[in-house]
Amino acid sequence: QQQVKQSPQSLIVQKGGISIINCAYENTAFDYFPWYQQFPGKGPALLIAIRPDVSEKKEGRFTISFNKSAKQFSLHIMDSQPGDSATYFCAASMDNFNKFYFGSGTKLNVKP
């Protein structure tokens, strides 16, 4: 059973556009939701994370929107750039466990 479901599998966005990636979870015990960015040949790098006591968190061009009642959260990349082209993973964990459940990933391609 997949704990975190991610969509879309792939995404093509024009430079300057907004990229949106969605994730949904089932386990209401999850209370920490990070997003990771992974380039080919590299390990995942933490982008931004949110806890369910807030509905939105913004860091630069990256924003997480969180809907606790719907058990959904999303990553918005504003003013997308070709350098943002990578695979993005959402994840979830329960406090003090540090065991992360990852989504299946979204391959983002930002066209110049």
Partner: protein
């Protein structure tokens, strides 16, 4: 400040063999987690080590075992290798205190089984 380092970067083995992968955590971190990432998939949690003991384990068979040393570095051992074990193996380190500390990943070991 060195991040998480893993060795080797690539490894080729045949079915039935055994393999050991190594990880040095980010400076100051005391917890090491191992993940398996199949091609085109998200990382899957194998197990976590803290204070030289396995603290949590994912849905992986006993062929997968590990160890953590007093300097917090860690090894992942896989016995009786199967073709399906071909994957990128990622090590992540974090600080246990406080819970849900950010995990820092290494660049992984690419394991290919022939």
């Amino acid at each position: 400040d060195a991040g998480v380092t893993q060795s080797p970067t690539h490894l080729i083995k045949t079915r039935g063999q055994q393999v050991t992968l190594r990880c040095s955590p980010k400076s100051g971190h005391d917890t090491v987690s191992w993940y398996q990432q199949a091609l085109g998939q998200g990382p899957q949690f194998i197990f976590q080590y803290y204070e030289e003991e396995e603290r949590q384990r994912g849905n992986f068979p006993d062929r997968f075992s590990g160890h953590q040393f007093p300097n917090y570095s860690s090894e992942l051992n896989v016995n009786a290798l199967l073709l399906g074990d071909s994957a990128l193996y990622l090590c992540a380190s974090s600080l246990k205190v406080g819970g849900n500390q950010p995990q820092h990943f290494g660049d992984g070991t690419r394991l290919s089984i022939l």
